[in-house]
Symmetry: C2
Subunit: 429 residues, 2 copies
């Protein structure tokens, strides 16, 4: 036994869940840089929303422990090695993806305060401040809550039960990977940071994917893991951009234009595989029908809600209608994926379009049915921008189960974006 190591370990007051500011999704940093340039002064509120209300987070997680973890995150700053990596690494084939002014700002950053309050059996956890700062809370806040909930269950288990639990979970992940290995033209990335079981587990899953899938594994959304394991950092953009741009719109006409303004700003900054449209914030169909022509030249579309096969078919039809060749385009599926769905979608669309998968929670947190009462099953926790400069945000999505915002604003958005009846789909995770 290494006595010194053991004594040193005992000196930790807590076991920090998030230990680095780049233990976050790559697209957060891309978006952050875009916001830092285009909307640095926007004041936003992000809020934690537990869509799985049957999980009583405030009963499961001790408030003191939660505060300790969040306080620890506030103490973090970019390390020299992390900064060097962000400045010097090649992302999506491009050097100096992150501009010097952004990096200087990021190097000086500490995350802003949080507001935590217990409400019944749930926590109200909100973050207020300037958009580029507040937005970086989303991923670590989610990861902390997911992992603390897991730890509450794991704390009750014996050493041996834990060993078997992880053996089972490892076997499950590996069996999924072995099934995916059969798909020759597969292209798949880890998108599982936010609702992962734990950092170490995500790190293990990434190594498993690399070992098992070779070049079919295109990378991870997690910057810290990408850096340490020397794999690609993967990600483009998310709903928060159109949601905040839309909230800031001063008229219905500005609102209708907001989602395209987002991509116009993005278009100037990026190219190639970073030109990925996320069309579903206010209904994919209307978004594509009303899209300006230059958007059809973009590389791909990410399908993040609604029936994925239908979403992909709409995208293919749209490209054809705009005179584009779908076989030169890319569809990225990223909503509630597991291996059956991946195989099915790959079979349906391989050859018709370039297909990619962003595999999230059911890669990095599939502990379903491994403990009694399924107490480690993942659940649907999100952390979203709920207001911008004092105005509420709205999301419609292609699945009304994922919609959010005040009812009157939802009605207004539906009218402006011409969204009619939508198909309700259960939210997986």
């Amino acid at each position: 036994m290494d006595i010194a190591t053991r004594v040193y370990n005992h000196k930790w007051k807590i076991d920090p869940i998030v230990r680095s500011l780049i233990d976050t999704d790559f697209y957060k940093l891309l978006m952050c840089q875009s916001v830092f340039r285009n909307k640095p002064d926007t004041q936003v509120t992000f809020s934690l929303i537990n869509r799985s209300t049957q999980i009583p987070l405030a009963d499961l997680i001790d408030e003191g422990e939660l505060r300790e973890q969040l306080d620890h995150i506030r103490s973090l700053s970019l390390s020299r090695g992390e900064s060097t990596w962000l400045r010097g690494n090649t992302f999506y084939g491009k050097r100096q993806m992150f501009r010097p002014d952004f990096m200087e700002w990021f190097e000086a950053l500490r995350l802003p305060p949080y507001h935590l309050e217990r409400r019944g059996d749930q926590y109200e956890l909100t973050f207020e401040g300037s958009w580029p700062e507040v937005m970086l809370w989303e991923i670590p806040a989610l990861a902390v809550l997911m992992e603390l909930r897991g730890r509450a269950v794991l704390n009750r288990m014996g050493r041996f039960e834990l060993q078997v639990l992880y053996a089972r979970a490892m076997t499950r992940v590996w069996e999924k990977i072995e099934r995916l290995r059969a798909l020759e033209t597969l292209s798949i990335a880890d998108f599982g940071t936010r609702r992962r079981h734990s950092f170490l587990w995500q790190d293990w899953c990434v190594q498993a994917m690399r070992e098992g899938l070779g070049d079919s594994f295109t990378g991870t959304s997690n910057c810290l893991i990408a850096m340490r394991r020397e794999v690609e950092a993967i990600g483009t953009n998310a709903h928060e951009l159109p949601m905040v741009y839309a909230a800031l719109a001063k008229s219905d006409a500005e609102l209708a234009r907001a989602p395209y303004d987002v991509l116009s700003d993005w278009h100037d900054e990026h190219e190639g595989n970073l030109h990925i449209i996320l069309p579903d914030t206010y209904g994919s169909k209307g978004f594509l029908e009303n899209a300006p022509d230059w958007l059809a030249s973009w590389t791909g579309i990410r399908i993040d809600s609604g029936d994925p096969a239908r979403g992909a078919a709409i995208a293919i039809d749209w490209w054809r209608a705009r005179g584009e060749d779908p076989t030169r385009k890319r569809v990225i599926f990223s909503d509630g994926l597991d291996v059956d769905k991946i195989i099915e979608l790959h079979r349906q669309f391989d050859g018709r379009v370039n297909v990619s998968f962003g595999w999230g929670t059911l890669l990095t947190n599939d502990f379903r049915s491994l403990v009694p009462d399924d107490a480690l099953a993942p659940f649907s926790l999100v952390c979203k921008a709920v207001s911008a400069n004092g105005r509420p945000t709205v999301k419609l999505s292609d699945n009304p189960e994922k919609a959010m915002g005040p009812p009157d604003e939802i009605e207004r958005y539906k009218r402006v974006f011409g969204v009619g009846q939508q198909q309700r789909q259960p939210v997986v995770v």
Copy 2:
């Protein structure tokens, strides 16, 4: 990293597979003491026999490495703590199971030389000398060959593949244990030393059994693990006793009496749960029919070949015929068991007789189908007494696939013990 530990580990010339003289089956020590008292001067030859001739052991295992492992075993002697445990521990409810004269002899013991020669794609490995010394080679020799064969496969695997391999194997063992947990009156022990995957793996399996089955897990045959994990050491007697006694018989009449002479010697030394009959060496049916009445008062019968349900039914009928109440007797199943068979036999015989299971190779070495070409599947390796005082030994068994000895001697034994047509059964492991 603990640099000192790492440097120290590099100083080992080999990674020894057997590191203790009590890393052996408990019944070997019980029998050894009996032999030490009753037949100390008998000269025997033990020989390794690979019944799975399709496994080319000499191609898989380097002769130099095998010699190093066997030489290491010859360097072992009983440690002070091991001696204290054997002298002071309670075995089968009895203190001082091992007598002072035997312990003094054992404390001074080093294992005698071995003879190793390559023959085609197999090894000829034999041990010659006095019975109490030579007999202690059986278990470590088997364990060394099984583990070296495993290492040859594992050496080709990456670190990650190894991790998943063990995760799968652990999951498999645990799932078996969870199925067994449903059997309320189960009584099961680990008998898996000789054909285990490795020492560490057997140790893990024992811990899994204890954690998963609680009191239904009655102990392990492995003395070193029993000592370290503080569980019961389990075992009674084996075929080598009647085989050697029979080989020493000077006439057919003495031969016919030999198996009962063994148990007569045993009867004087032991009691209770150590009074277990192993009837199949020369055919269970004839053995029981011709058995002296005092044998019917013994506690149980171990079924180690042939159809186990048939063997148990014969035992129950025999007890009834001898005026004994089978529900106060014990049947120990120990041949080629896996969880389906255990559950089936338990269901068939629970309530009719006390049922115990000695679970061997498919507990401690079930790596079937976990690597390509099934290269880690266990196989049927034995190490048997083949001669005693220059005369060949014979085993008939209740399964002719397990028979051994010169053909003319086999015929003679069949005649003397009245064994007719036998049912051939595939040897599992």
